[in-house]
């Protein structure tokens, strides 16, 4: 445990060092350039600037090699961003395309390029297409959702927490998982925030827009 702490502290120090040198070296170079320029003329000033750049080269290449070798810590947030990587699915792309078309349509209707009857008809058609894509995406993700709930329940059971009331309070499986389709009648409806009236997910604790605490139904709200 302490080894991990030491490691974490060393990483933090290294990141702090990197942040400092990131502005310190350019600042020092700039200062030195100006000083030498005033004292000795343009030529030597350019040499100082070149030296600063050269120090930068050494720094960057050294950082690169250390990162490659595994000694240097990665920047914060990179790993999180990396885990959010996903393959692009055809359905996602088609959905975006339909959404763009709908947005264009709305705009052209708002400035009067399309009249109301045309707009209703074409917009309905595109909305139908978009909805069918959404349904298709939900359908594809449903078995994975079920699997994710299974894994989460198992994990909770291992942690000896009461997962009996867990249905409907389970965390979302992935960032872009859709809300549960209203197939089961006992799935609770969406929560409205008392402060800003934004519609929130049924299992949310805090409002996603203003952060106010939402009324929680069961007393064993967890996670």
């Amino acid at each position: 445990m302490s080894e991990l702490d030491e490691r974490a502290r060393a990483d933090e120090m290294e990141r702090a060092l990197a942040r400092t040198t990131a502005w310190a070296i350019p600042a020092a170079t700039g200062l030195a350039t100006v000083t030498v320029g005033i004292l000795f003329g343009v030529g030597p000033a350019i040499l100082v600037l070149a030296s600063g750049a050269f120090i930068g080269v050494i720094g960057f290449l050294w950082a690169s090699l250390r990162t490659l070798g595994g000694d240097a810590p990665l920047p914060e947030g990179l790993v999180t961003a990396g885990s959010a990587r996903h393959t692009v699915s055809g359905a996602e792309e088609r959905k975006r395309r339909t959404l763009r078309a709908l947005k264009d349509l709305e705009h052209e209707h708002s400035i009067g390029k399309i009249d109301d009857a045309d707009y209703e008809m074409i917009s309905a058609r595109y909305r139908e297409t978009a909805k069918s894509i959404l349904r298709e995406m939900d359908f594809q993700i449903e078995p994975l959702r079920a699997k994710a709930e299974e894994i989460a329940r198992a994990h909770l059971a291992k942690k000896c927490l009461d997962a009996a009331g867990g249905e409907g309070h389970v965390e979302k499986a992935s960032p872009d998982a859709p809300e549960p389709a209203p197939v089961a009648s006992k799935v609770p409806s969406r929560l409205a925030c008392p402060s800003c009236a934004t519609s929130n997910e049924p299992d949310a604790t805090f409002c996603k827009k203003c952060g106010a605490r939402l009324g929680v139904e069961s007393s064993d709200a967890n996670i």
């Binding site: 050269f54 080269v57 264009d104 052209e108 400035i111 009067g112 390029k113 009249d115 909805k131």
Partner: protein, 936 residues
């Protein structure tokens, strides 16, 4: 080894190669393993490469400032007497240095791109970095082996250098090349994004959305750079024009055309999912054209005012273009299934790669033949080869998919009367235009290779042919704006077209009624460039272009204004205009307008930014149209004599001489009066500067009086020191000022398109400040780059000055003949002012006086100097290919386009044709939320 400074600097260059190769290798590793750690290492490597290039450039700067004449480059382009500013200017004065400058700009772009990428687009990043490093390696190899700026002369260091050509020590020459380079080099970044998309197979709109701002930025600077080039030619060369269809000008113009086509066709892919292959092809073509343009400028393959001494550097470029094209083509073939929305089975992939390469190689024999003789006209063949490969693959695919019963998931277009169709036409017209210019530019090489005939393609050829195509594009610009993305009903079409057509008709009527009276006649007859019916046909069309130009200007400006009126009306109706603080409207209309534009949601901002760009372009078109009414007058005046040009009267007051450190200046003062109002407009003082270092070539300093209507452009030819008699050439150039103003509007529109996005949760003012700073920073950096002293690299004798023309007939004949003095390149006899050729001009004048016909005079000139003595290739035999080939290609393209449209049409009467029930369910809420969040 690194014992001397020059050797150390050369080692730096090799070091860049090492660092870039290292980064290239580990970024490929990062791409294939997907490890973030390796990617981070690649990012650091990229930063290190950038810093190393900066070091090398700074060392060269130091060499100049410290007068280190051991370096051949420093000795050639500077001397001890030059002030500091010009020393830094000379840094990029020659070929080797300008390559280092290219590398430097590329490194700035790479640094900015890697920084901007940050934690975004992690899948594409490795391959983006790898592609950029590959280009860096190419330029390093080029410099290390062919054009090392740090090489030393065998004779050792000199006492003093040769100094910079004084012709290059002026403002416009300083800012034009860097602005253009910023545009050229910028096209590398979208190319890198496209290659990354191809390699990773993420071929939907991700790479397009990611690279959008980069492409816009590069496009904007291509526009600025070209306009600055026009400005330089206008201000400095002294012949009164701004564009000579010089091969290097064309080489800078063609990427602009292709990039313009690209920014439009990506919109089709974003909304419809069509044209995926076309878009990757276009962006690769843009990049290859910038490399090709650099090659044309430097290798001396085609003679021009910009040319250098011949060098072996051309071979490197040709190989690089080949290699880049081969790699890109293979990637496109490999990804063909995804690009055509077919399931990516290995069988289909293999079929694509096989058929594609067979097509390329099958179309190659002609290419191989030509490459034996000269550097290839790469781009023409890129288009032909591309078409051949496409046809080959599609034929194979038809059979395969029919056999395997695979259907494509490709989408369909709505209807002919939709914006998609006009964007397709836009691409078709722009690429057709580019093909035309490209063939004409490379035609001297082609005709010499194929038919052993030397020809020259001069401005009269371009001016005659370009006008129809240009006007078609101009018309499409307006029509496309009027049509919506969806099928537009006939009533709406009628309503949309009403005002533009009405105003256009009124303009045409007024033009015919009053045009001639105010000096802007609607029909202006010029001289035919060919004898015979083709020549007469072209001549007839060119005669009505003034009227068409003004009519289309009225058409387009009404359309743009109409769009903004509709926007503001809609905002008033919906109450959205309350969000703009009303104080901004009272402080002149502009701040309110700017605030409204900037606070629009992103897709709308881009749309209206695009309209502003169109507005800028149509102002430039107005300026180009003005050329039809140019008036040229010449006179030799004694002091106090007057001459008249159009509505200006000029009285020659006298001449005076001033001397400074490096030149003698001879001014001639003229008082200008406007004959319409009788008002005095002040004094103009054209001059001749005679530099001490180059006493034989005096430079012409033009004097101008600018107004909205026209420019009075005065040049002094020579001043007799005893009698003070002076010869003047006066041009009245109508509407030229609108070109420069239009470019400014174009820049503003582009900036609006590139405006960064607000985060809705942040406080408005902070977000505004942040994004304002971002825009200000990038535009400032761009302008600083543009203002940095960077002259062009032509140290050749560029004679500026005037040619005495006695009559319109003489002008017509001189315009058709090229000056063969060997010093200037390609200039017609009307413009080349070198003194060596006066005897020949005298001979021709004698022939004119004898009453010989134009054809006889031209024929005798050809007998003496060959067919390349003519500015227009003769309309005979195989030489007709110069226009027949592009026209045939354009027609074939049109047929192909029609065929594609037929395949893309949504089958009518399908199940989606009737209006479904508008029943709201839970998905509608989700849909509305997603629509709200959509900001692309």
């Amino acid at each position: 080894m690194a014992s001397t400074f020059p050797l150390f600097c050369t080692l730096l260059l090799l070091g860049v190669m090492v660092a870039a190769s290292y980064t290239f290798a580990i970024s490929l590793a990062a791409g294939s393993t997907g490890r973030l750690r390796t990617l981070q290492a690649a990012r650091f490597g990229a930063y290190g490469t950038v810093a190393l290039i900066a070091t090398a450039v700074l060392c060269l700067a130091y060499a100049f400032v410290s007068h280190d004449f051991r370096l051949r480059y420093v000795a050639h382009y500077s001397d001890r007497s030059m002030p500091l500013a010009y020393l830094l200017t000379a840094l990029w004065g020659g070929q080797d240095g300008s390559l280092l400058w290219w590398l430097f700009l590329l490194s700035l772009y790479i640094g900015a791109c890697v920084f901007w990428l940050g934690k975004k687009f992690l899948e594409l990043q490795p391959y983006i970095i790898a592609t950029l490093m590959a280009v860096v390696i190419f330029f390093c190899v080029l410099m290390a082996f062919a054009a090392n700026p740090f090489s030393t002369s065998v004779a050792g260091g000199r006492m003093d250098g040769e100094g910079l050509n004084p012709l290059l020590q002026n403002y416009w020459m300083i800012i034009h090349p860097p602005a253009l380079y910023t545009g050229f080099v910028g096209c590398t970044v979208p190319f890198a994004f496209a290659v990354a998309a191809l390699v990773t197979g993420r071929l939907d709109t991700e790479w397009i959305v990611a690279s959008r701002r980069w492409m816009l930025f590069a496009w904007m600077f291509l526009g600025i750079g070209n306009t600055l080039g026009m400005r330089w030619a206008y201000e400095e060369l002294g012949w009164g024009g701004y564009w000579a269809w010089d091969p290097v000008e064309n080489a800078a113009f063609m990427p602009f055309l292709v990039a313009s086509a690209f920014v439009h066709s990506v919109m089709i892919q974003e909304r419809r999912g069509l044209l995926k292959v076309w878009n990757v092809f276009l962006v690769s073509l843009t990049f290859l054209m910038t490399i090709f343009g650099t090659f044309l400028t430097r290798s001396g393959a085609i003679a021009s005012v910009h040319s250098f001494a011949q060098s072996s550097i051309g071979t490197y470029f040709v190989w690089f273009i080949f290699f880049a094209a081969a790699v890109t083509a293979s990637l496109i073939f490999y990804r063909w299934p995804e690009l055509r929305d077919l399931p990516p089975s290995p069988q289909l992939r293999k079929a694509a790669v096989g058929a594609g390469w067979v097509g390329l190689i099958g179309g190659g024999p002609a290419a191989a033949y030509i490459s034996n003789h000269l550097p290839m006209p790469i781009v023409t063949f890129a288009l032909i080869e591309g078409a051949v490969a496409w046809v080959a693959i599609e034929l194979v695919y038809r059979r395969l998919t029919a056999k395997l019963k695979i259907t494509s998931a490709a989408p369909r277009i709505e209807s002919i009367w939709s914006r998609e169709f006009t964007f397709l036409l836009n691409n078709y017209a722009l690429l057709g235009f580019m093909l035309f210019v490209c063939v004409a530019t490379t035609f001297p090489m082609i005709s010499e290779a194929f038919w052993n005939e030397k020809v020259t393609v001069g401005p009269p050829y371009y001016n005659a042919w370009v006008q129809p195509i240009g006007l078609v594009i101009f018309a499409l610009m307006g029509i496309g704006t009027l049509l919506g993305w969806k099928k537009t009903s006939p009533q709406l079409l009628r309503r949309a077209f009403f005002w533009p057509l009405a105003i256009t008709a009124a303009t045409i009527a007024m033009h015919f009624a009053f045009g001639a009276k105010i000096g802007f006649a609607p029909i202006v007859w010029g001289d035919p460039i060919y004898a015979g019916s083709l020549g007469q046909g072209l001549r007839a069309f060119n005669a009505i272009t003034p009227m068409l130009g003004i009519a289309l200007f009225a058409f387009n400006i009404t359309i743009v204004v109409q769009e903004f009126v509709m926007l503001f009306r809609a905002r008033a109706k919906s109450g959205a205009d309350k969000e703009v603080p009303s104080i901004l409207w009272y402080a002149g209309l502009l701040p309110g307008f700017a605030y409204t534009m900037v606070t629009l949601p992103a897709p709308s901002r881009r749309r209206y930014g695009g309209y502003i760009v169109h507005f800028g372009i149509l102002l430039m078109f107005l300026g180009f149209t003005g050329k039809s009414w140019t008036i040229d007058r010449e006179a030799s005046l004694a002091p106090h004599q007057t001459m008249q040009a159009d509505h200006y009267q000029l009285e020659y007051i006298g001449s005076r001489m001033e001397v400074d450190l490096n030149k003698r200046m001879i001014f001639a003062d003229l008082k200008v009066t406007d004959l319409r109002t009788g008002r005095s407009l002040g004094t103009v003082s054209p001059a001749k500067f005679i530099y001490k270092k180059q006493p034989d070539s005096a430079t012409t300093e033009v004097a101008q009086l600018n107004s909205f209507r026209d420019d009075l452009y005065v040049v002094v030819g020579s001043v007799n020191p005893q009698t003070k008699n002076a010869s003047f050439q006066v041009h009245v150039n109508p509407l030229v000022g609108w070109i420069w103003f239009g470019c400014l509007i174009l820049v503003l529109g582009s900036v609006l398109c590139m405006w960064p996005q607000f985060e809705p949760e942040e406080s408005r003012s902070w977000a505004f400040a942040r994004s304002g700073a971002a825009i200000a920073a990038s535009v400032t950096i761009g302008i600083v780059l543009a203002m940095m002293p960077v002259p062009a690299f032509a140290q050749s004798q560029m004679a500026t000055g005037t040619v005495h023309i006695r009559s319109d007939r003489e002008r017509d004949i001189f315009k058709s003949l090229r000056c063969m003095c060997g010093g200037c390149e390609r200039l017609p006899l009307t413009d080349c002012a070198c003194g060596d050729f006066e005897s020949e001009r005298a001979e021709i004048r004698r022939q004119i006086d004898e009453g010989l016909s134009k054809d006889v005079i031209l024929a005798s000139y050809v007998k003496k100097y060959g067919t390349d003595g003519l500015t227009v290739p003769p309309n005979t035999g195989a030489l007709r290919a110069i226009y027949l080939f592009p026209l045939t290609a354009i027609v074939a393209g049109g047929v192909g386009l029609g065929f594609m449209l037929h395949r893309w049409r949504r089958p009518t009467g399908g199940p989606t044709a009737d209006a479904p029930q508008a029943k709201r369910d839970e998905y509608d809420t989700r849909l509305d939320e997603e629509l709200k969040d959509l900001d692309e």
